[in-house]
């Protein structure tokens, strides 16, 4: 059975001066999918991720977010503060450089999005600690980020992305700063925390090994989708 679309982009155009970073890109992403977005530098993959995630607004086109059990929301045309609210409540993010607050402990970092929604701190930290434990970080809740390895810090970032129950998680080269063994572990954790829970993962990567662990690979060139196929274990970079 095909699951329902959670993110539908149509005719996305984004220009930076004369350069077309996105040239009429259309894409439908379904609930529970893991989508790897690949392409050479300057192909538009990060611009696509930012547009789908309501970080930037396209020049034209449409992006509709349809979280399960909620009304669909057209992201294009929202004000900056409305886009920020959508990102805070409905979307999760994992970056290459984990971008955690170094002064905060692991559990405080993971609980931060919940505190911003107004949840009581003990409840927020309890919920965040549950996610940390699920990601293999039980017992490390009170450690500062500097006391964690790169892979452990990235797991904290995954917990932070998932703690609000966001139906869609965006990841920008989440394993780009890790060695291959840690990269595989972190990717497993990321997939477990997202598609493993019926949620959706959209990930920019240049690593074919990482991409083939996703359910689908979208390739971009010069701001256009040139290939959109299901990933197979034999998938290699073109």
């Amino acid at each position: 059975m095909t699951s329902s679309p959670v993110l539908t982009a149509a005719g996305l155009v984004k220009r930076y001066g004369a350069l077309a970073a996105l040239d009429t890109v259309s894409l439908t992403i379904r609930a529970g999918e893991s989508v790897a977005v690949m392409g050479a530098s300057g192909s538009g993959k990060t611009t696509l991720l930012h547009t789908l995630a309501a970080v930037i607004a396209p020049d034209s086109g449409s992006v509709v977010l349809s979280p399960p059990g909620a009304e669909p929301t057209e992201l294009v045309g929202l004000s900056e503060s409305e886009r920020a609210r959508v990102r805070r409540t409905l979307l999760g993010f994992v970056f290459q450089e984990h971008l955690l607050l170094p002064e905060l402990t692991a559990v405080e970092n993971a609980a931060l999005p919940l505190l911003l929604t107004g949840m009581r701190r003990p409840d927020a930290e309890r919920h965040a600690a549950g996610w940390l434990a699920a990601l293999g970080l039980a017992g490390m809740e009170t450690r500062r980020i500097g006391q964690l390895s790169g892979g452990q810090a990235q797991r904290v970032a995954i917990a932070r992305a998932q703690v609000t129950g966001a139906p869609v998680v965006f990841a920008d080269e989440p394993t780009g700063a890790l060695d291959s063994a840690t990269s595989a572990d972190v990717l497993s954790a990321l997939l477990h925390a997202t598609t493993g829970q019926g949620r959706t993962l959209v990930m920019v990567t240049h690593d074919a090994e990482v991409a083939r662990r996703c359910s689908r690979i979208v390739r971009l060139r010069d701001g256009r989708v040139i290939d959109d196929t299901a990933a197979t274990p034999l998938e290699t970079t073109r």
Partner: protein, 444 residues
């Protein structure tokens, strides 16, 4: 070194990169220079004006020179902050130059040169600002009426000296502050010292403050033993020592306050600010430590003057003039403090550029981040004010008690000056908002 000037010229080309980050220190130096020229002009007037000799018997000159010395402290802080901002503003470029083979020495020279150039440009603007302000300065009431523009206009030679002094202080403090910054091909890092031992600092501080209070309480005996001039010098030394001690205990107090804030935080802003204060107590304290000096002066001088309000004739004029001088010094110190806070804050925003972008992506509201930033400045500022005032109160306990009883209005005036000063620092913080907005929009 021959490569430094061409590189500096290349890097000074106009770009979208952080306009506010260069305007802010330039404005800060312009304001500082204008104010220093006002104070230097005033000090010169008090030293040579016959009215000052008639009324105060040389006392005016000593106090004006003291005010000038006091204002040098926030100036040095500002110079260091401007240099740090310069290196942060050029973060990527400096690292790239290192990658291309520029030596650490060349990068150091480039940064000091840039910070000094910004200071020099700001200082020149400051001269124009001073000229514009001069008619207002002439209206200040000294010697029983408006002092007159001609009296306070600075001697051109002295003015040039102040200008050179500002630029030299900026260059020296820039060079000194860069000792803590390492520019590598991979980026710019700030070395941080280990946090001070809290218990030792607190114990030493309290013991010495108690000893100082004992000395003050028995000042008449000390005066008889040493003679009035040496006793006065001892007294000034004691006050300076008190301030140094306050600086010693300031960072541990801020750290303790930060930990308590984080422990009891209910919202994200308090949690982030509390942890930030606990982890970086030293820099957080140093950023606002000038406030301790300001409030110390306010309590000691202000309350002393409140009692002397009853004086009449020449003595009454002297007391009224000193009160005006104290309020002016307080006001100017607040402006300098606000400038230094604004510039330091701009540097810290640029240091955390990636994190700000990341938090923006997560949808963290701008207002929440601003609140956290405001707390990290205002909480230590409040403690610096309380610490300076408490130290002033302890060291001149009888005067403070009497003045609260006999001249509550004067005490209220000083309190109002503080409220205005806090508002000024808050405004300086708000002035860094365009940099944060620029970073969020990817323009910086």
């Amino acid at each position: 070194m021959s490569t430094v000037l061409p590189l500096a010229r290349l890097l000074s080309r106009p770009s979208r990169q952080g306009r506010a980050a260069i305007v802010l220190p330039a404005v800060a130096f312009a304001v500082t220079t204008a104010l220093l020229l006002v104070v230097a002009g005033g000090a010169h007037m008090f030293l040579v004006d016959p009215r000052a000799q008639d009324t105060g018997d040389g006392f005016y000159g000593i106090l004006a020179s003291l005010a000038l010395l006091l204002l040098a402290v926030p100036l040095v802080t500002l110079g260091a902050a401007a240099a740090r901002l310069s290196s942060r503003r050029r973060n990527d470029r400096l690292a790239t130059l290192r990658l291309l083979g520029a030596s650490g020495r060349e990068i150091w020279a480039l940064t000091v040169l840039e910070a000094t150039s910004v200071a020099a440009a700001g200082a020149v603007v400051g001269v124009a600002l001073y000229v514009a302000l001069l008619p207002l300065v002439g209206l200040l009431p000294f010697f029983g009426g408006p002092v007159g523009m001609a009296s306070v206009a600075i001697d051109p030679l002295l003015g040039a000296g102040v200008l050179v002094g500002v630029v030299v202080i900026a260059a020296v403090s820039a060079a000194a502050s860069l000792r803590k910054v390492t520019v590598t091909p991979l980026g710019v890092r700030t070395r941080s010292a280990a946090p001070p031992s809290r218990r030792a600092a607190l114990i030493i501080g309290l013991v010495v403050i108690a000893a100082v209070a004992l000395l003050i309480a028995n000042f008449a005996v000390v005066g008889e033993l040493l003679g009035p001039a040496i006793a006065l010098a001892v007294l000034l030394g004691v006050f300076a020592g008190g301030m140094a001690l306050l600086n010693l205990v300031g960072a541990p107090i801020v750290a303790a306050r930060g930990r308590a804030m984080a422990r009891h935080a209910r919202g994200a802003a308090q949690l982030v600010a509390g942890r930030e204060l606990a982890a970086h107590a030293g820099p957080s304290w140093r950023r606002v430590s000038g406030m301790a000096l300001v409030s110390f002066i306010a309590v000691v001088a202000g309350c002393g003057l409140a009692i002397a309000d009853a004086a009449e004739g020449a003595e009454g004029t002297l007391m009224a003039d000193i009160r005006t001088g104290v309020l002016l010094t307080l006001g100017i110190a607040f402006v300098l403090l606000a400038c230094a806070v604004g510039v330091t804050q701009a540097a810290s925003v640029l240091e955390e550029r990636d994190l700000i972008v990341g938090l923006d992506r997560l949808g963290i509201p701008d207002a929440e981040l601003r609140r956290a930033r405001r707390l990290t400045v205002m909480v230590p500022l409040r403690w610096a004010a309380i610490g300076g005032a408490a130290l002033g109160g302890v060291l001149s306990f009888p005067i403070v008690g009497i003045s609260l009883l006999v001249a509550p209005l004067s005490v209220a005036t000083i309190a109002l000056t503080f409220v205005a000063g806090f508002a000024l620092v808050a405004a300086a913080l708000a002035s860094t908002r365009p940099i944060v907005t620029g970073i969020r929009r990817g323009a910086v």
